[in-house]
């Protein structure tokens, strides 16, 4: 029997499988599987105030992938803490499953205020989504400039005592530059990748498929990009990586571990198969048993 436990940012996870932000809800996902079996669950993006999100259609199918333009619709940190968080906590009971709160913002101050509230709430770690558009800089994502990424990480770090994960956007020329900026500004870990910006046109209707025109590409179509980025970043930083992007199977999860991730998150797969996170956990376990891996560290060190 392989040992699936991992230490991530000083906390033990019972296994390396985590839900990716925006693809899990305690009520909905809980109808299909027991999420107390997972290493951690991640909330959808939570901002200091409620955000209305984008008009519909927000979802489009692409070859082996999908585009989403949810626009980070969320009820705001206070309602998240009062309503969604207790549902997550109830679902994990006395298991070792960790709770990660994903933090969104449109300015550094908004990030800081949301992070402060969430740090004081019943969560184990914070994940800073720096892919959000910066309204003070004309909507350019915080995560595309090393200086801005460093600034927001530093300011949030000041108010956060819990482990702080910074989630990187892949829509950059040099991911390692941003990874360094986050690491040197106090991030305890990095998660990558967020979605790749994409767009589709319905040629018969001559219209954009998404009301927002552009959206984030996720799913198996992006996995090779994610694997490459995790590999590059893992060799550039010392802090651990939560790897994600298109994981559909236990073998895919193992691929991220071999590329250098310490834990992995399952996103789009849960839309294709509502039980995907626990199925992938079982498949990873089987893969490790079959190939004689005693623990996750052994998988991480397996790449020749």
């Amino acid at each position: 029997m392989s040992d699936l436990r991992v230490i991530f940012c000083g906390l033990e996870l019972q296994n390396p499988i985590v839900t990716a932000s925006g693809t899990f809800s305690a009520k909905g996902s809980g109808k299909f599987y027991d999420f107390s079996r997972l290493g951690a669950v991640t909330s959808k993006g939570v901002a200091i105030d409620p955000w209305p999100g984008n008009p519909t259609p927000r979802i489009a199918e692409t070859h082996s992938g999908m585009l989403n333009a949810i626009g980070l619709e969320n009820p705001g940190a206070e309602r998240f803490i009062a309503e969604e968080l207790p549902l997550i906590r109830n679902g994990i009971d006395f298991s070792g499953t960790r709770i990660i709160a994903n933090v969104a913002g449109r300015s550094v101050e908004e990030y800081v205020r949301a992070a402060e509230l969430l740090n004081a709430a019943d969560v184990d770690m914070l994940e800073l989504n720096i892919s959000c558009p910066n309204i003070k800089e004309g909507g350019v994502s915080f995560g595309t400039s090393p200086a801005v990424a460093a600034k927001v990480t530093q300011e949030v770090r000041r108010v956060v005592t819990k482990p702080l994960i910074v989630k990187l956007t892949p829509n950059v020329t040099d991911i390692c530059e941003i990874a360094h900026a986050a690491e040197s500004s106090g991030a305890d870990a990095l998660s990558l990748i967020n979605t790749l910006t994409g767009m589709r046109i319905d040629v018969r209707k001559r219209r954009h498929v998404l009301a927002n025109k552009t959206g984030g590409l996720s799913g198996p179509a992006i996995m090779p990009v994610a694997i490459r980025m995790v590999y590059q970043v893992a060799s550039a930083v010392k802090i651990p990586i939560l790897g994600m992007g298109g994981i559909m199977s236990g073998a895919d999860a193992a691929e991220f571990l071999m590329a250098g991730a310490s834990a992995v998150a399952v996103g789009t797969a849960a839309l294709v198969d509502p039980t995907a996170p626990v199925r992938i956990l079982d498949e990873l376990k089987d893969f490790m048993d079959e190939h004689g891996f005693a623990n996750i560290e052994a998988v991480k060190n397996a790449l020749k």
């Binding site: 693809t23 009520k27 209305p52 979802i59 199918e61 999908m66 989403n68 839309l271 294709v272 198969d273």
Partner: protein
């Protein structure tokens, strides 16, 4: 409990041009869906990830009946699945119609909004309830002769029944407002017009909405609609909503 399972196709027949009746045998143990609930079908093609939401049209001893129109690549692929083929399904999803204890239920359907109303009509008949179905079609009508209650048909070109849309037909039928509830499913413009019609006459209305879905179970927040009570998820809070709750003008 909702669940995802692999079902066996035991029927997949074209019942009108471009309209198919799919019959699926589910493993034992799934609860009987409520009228207005839907299921997600997952394609047997790993390059097409998203679920196809389809309303329940019938249920008998773990056999689920769905009626779908071929509109795009996914439904075209499903129409090619033969008997004995397997397909993944998650069921049941969403909430059903909230039928009031009124004297008469008017079931108003347009196009592929008709199948869930057949399931509702059968449930009402089972419970000894009176109903009238008012069904609109752009092309050849389907399922109309399977309804266990009185049926009025409208077609855009007048090739069958009334020439015009269902709201025009309802106006002509001049139904009593008291003791009546309208339960409807169809394209959004039809439902919007129906909401105006019902509001003007003070008739209670329930509508089943459609929206693009990512998950179908409340996780992705892809499928929202605007309501008086704020943004709601069609898959989890709906697909059935009170007619006066939905904000129609966008």
């Amino acid at each position: 409990m909702s669940g995802v399972c692999t079902a066996e196709i035991i029927g997949n027949d074209e019942i009108a041009p471009g309209i198919f009746k799919l019959r699926l045998r589910l493993p034992a143990g799934y609860q009987r869906p409520e009228p207005g609930q839907f299921v997600n079908l997952y394609l047997n093609d790993p390059s097409r990830l998203l679920p196809r939401p389809i309303s329940v049209c019938g249920w008998h001893e773990s056999v689920l009946t769905l009626v779908y129109a071929v509109v795009g690549a996914g439904t075209r692929a499903i129409s090619g699945y033969g008997i004995g083929a397997k397909i993944r399904v998650s069921t049941p999803l969403g909430n059903g119609f909230a039928v009031q204890p009124v004297k008469s239920c008017i079931l108003v359907g347009g196009g592929v909004g008709v199948p869930p109303l057949l399931y509702l009509a059968n449930r009402l008949a089972e419970n000894g309830r009176d109903a009238l179905a008012v069904l609109g079609f752009r092309g050849e009508p389907f399922l109309t002769d399977e309804f266990p209650c009185a049926v009025e048909v409208a077609t855009d070109d007048g090739s069958a029944g009334f020439k015009g849309n269902v709201v025009e037909l309802l106006e002509k039928l001049n139904l009593p407002a008291s003791g009546t509830q309208i339960l409807a499913c169809g394209p959004k413009p039809m439902l919007g017009a129906l909401a105006k019609f019902a509001a003007k006459r003070g008739i209670a209305l329930q509508v089943s909405l459609e929206e693009r879905m990512g998950c179908g179970y409340g996780a992705c927040v892809g499928c929202v609609c605007k309501t008086a009570g704020g943004s709601r998820k069609v898959c989890e809070d709906g697909p059935v909503f009170a007619g006066d709750e939905v904000i129609w003008d966008e």
